[in-house]
Symmetry: C2
Amino acid sequence: MNGAQRPLRIGLAGLGTVGCGVIRLLDANRALIEARAGRQLQITAVSARDRTRDRGVDLSAFAFESDMTALAERDDVDVVIEAAGGSDGPALELAGATLGAGKGLVTANKAMVAHHGLELAERAAQSGAALRFEAAVAGGIPVIKGLREGAAANSIDRIYGILNGTCNYILTRMESTGADFADALAEAQELGFAEADPSFDIEGVDAAHKLAILAAIGFGAKVDFNGVAISGITQVSAADISQAKALGFVIRLVGVADCDDPQNGTGRSALLQRVRPCLVPLDHPLANVSGPTNAVVAEGNFVGRLLFQGAGAGAGPTASAIVADLIDLARGDAGPPFSLPVAELEAMDRADPGGRTGRDYIRFTVTDRPGVLAEITAAMRDAGVSIESLIQRGRAKESGGEVLLAMVTHEGPERCVAEALALLEGSPSLTSAPLVLPILRD
Amino acid sequence: MNGAQRPLRIGLAGLGTVGCGVIRLLDANRALIEARAGRQLQITAVSARDRTRDRGVDLSAFAFESDMTALAERDDVDVVIEAAGGSDGPALELAGATLGAGKGLVTANKAMVAHHGLELAERAAQSGAALRFEAAVAGGIPVIKGLREGAAANSIDRIYGILNGTCNYILTRMESTGADFADALAEAQELGFAEADPSFDIEGVDAAHKLAILAAIGFGAKVDFNGVAISGITQVSAADISQAKALGFVIRLVGVADCDDPQNGTGRSALLQRVRPCLVPLDHPLANVSGPTNAVVAEGNFVGRLLFQGAGAGAGPTASAIVADLIDLARGDAGPPFSLPVAELEAMDRADPGGRTGRDYIRFTVTDRPGVLAEITAAMRDAGVSIESLIQRGRAKESGGEVLLAMVTHEGPERCVAEALALLEGSPSLTSAPLVLPILRD
């Protein structure tokens, strides 16, 4: 270890799973971390709401601040780790104060970066401080580094991936056990793969935070979380999963970001960001991603398709990503957080999805009586939707009962499917709103 | 782009597929590359054996050196890209001269780094020059960066992967078509996935180069190419692939490196590096890696299992990795090439594989007559090998003909299988030497 350099002194805000994970990791792997960093990494001060709770880690060597913003002002802190959480409030205040003081900030806070990443990057640029958030996306997987540095020579065509381990756990359990959504969610909660209030996960918001961050880095754009069209997995039923399987697909919650060619007359390219449950062909690498694993694909114009896969959450993987950022900072490597200097990040227009083409899975729940199929297929024809395959399953016991009808369309404009469903709106044949899931483009 | 910094001036040695790929990439993506690098990247001089050959790229703006070592001495060169190839000779001379002159060296030359990486890293450390070789391992996949920086906080337990696209193409074609090795190789040669002289690929030497480099980085060891035990894929037959499939596996050429716990009395841990065709369980991520794709898994003590996958070769991916290295150098990020300062790299002992336990696939070719099965199973029993499953296929038409016998063993010491085969050596029942393929440990 290079003893010539002075230690990197760290203030740690938040002593939950992630914060304590960082303390344990620095303790367990200290020798190799310091050899790779070329300096000592030394936590000097910590902050948490409750000082006295037993967390199973020894805090006696660290100063304690009950107000976490005070970490930013301490003379013995060079870098602050923000592991407290929350997109605004104290976490954002700490982040602003840290960067404002010219100190490095390392955070795992995807909500904060998705909502306020741009202003934090501006603050960092003003003071010359480093801002890093590898742990904010896909847990321990070094995908921000992979995109920002590893694929830096490429124009990125598309970024997509499985970004939420809770949803992926639920969907793959539904797949392997035939359970319906509610039961798989309850199981995930029991096992600690889902939180007591799982709404941010199952409604796709968490995946959207991560997608917005990846898109900003990949496309050199100003992070635009509000531009992400989000649908979660709560509408996916056991029947959808078995229909999809019969058609040669699995269902995964996938975040996809890509750019329109700048042929919209403005000369500016437009960004499309969507988080949706998708049908994934069985031979696609994402189809094999099961349980709480995350996986991200980046497609570059020279490198082709890169896949990064690993644990998307948990104390160990998240701490691994945070300490990787610390090692980079200790080594003096502190490029712009979003891959380009913040002044060069583009405010991209939002693309109109109606102009896109694709294939869809559409599931109808219909009354079981003559003429329903003719009504639906006529609406498809009138809207210009071409049907590739169709399954009618689970014929109701008594006539007039409910039947599931699933179809996969040929490639066509997305707006045509919407038009077909508009034609069917209000039809007494449909017992509930149809569910449309896109088929992931290879 | 930051115009304040002066350009990074590049000398490019070698104008084959890779060298021309770099020229094309810098040309196609210039604006975004320079925005990410914060400086201009400017090729000033090139070198190749033949100046006049039409390569489809415009060389008129570059100075030409017929002796590539002269690139290192030019005043208008800050960094040299070595894309000429060859583990020794002019490439090594150029590398030494470049680093000796305190200039950065970026190379795609896996053979040179595997054989001479340590001396080059020493030279780089002496002069304070940067040495980078992302393109030397797994083409465009940023796996060296992922391991060296992304997983830097972890003690690595094991590194393994599919490191040779030619072999993977051949094996997956054998799998999908039932072709035998020679036919699949001929097809790969026709399609450009295998060279006219494919021996470095099919005999596992190329994969071993890459494994030795990954192991050095992952374990902080002095690169030890000669310590890699290598077997290639030439002995794998169509019958092995179909037997493996029947048993629930695919066959892949996998390089594996791991460390023994330091319980060998010396207090030093020992490194085991092997490249072998392995049986991979169908639900393992590597089983889904087909065609010329590469994939690397790194298992860290906090991050768990990370998978990096992508194109393992080709002009575009290789150029992508080279230019990623250039961007890092342009941004001033030049950590030690093998993740630790060269003086701290450990000369690790070589582990004794006989002390390991594992499961094996063993294929016998035997004469079809009574008593053969009893003879083989008795040898297994006497050597302490426990058989998990056994398939006898392809009964010969006339008695006394050849029959294939394939078995999978239970977990046991590797030396026992060797002992069993020694007991059977010289037996007239065996018509050729048995083939032993390990089963990849999950």
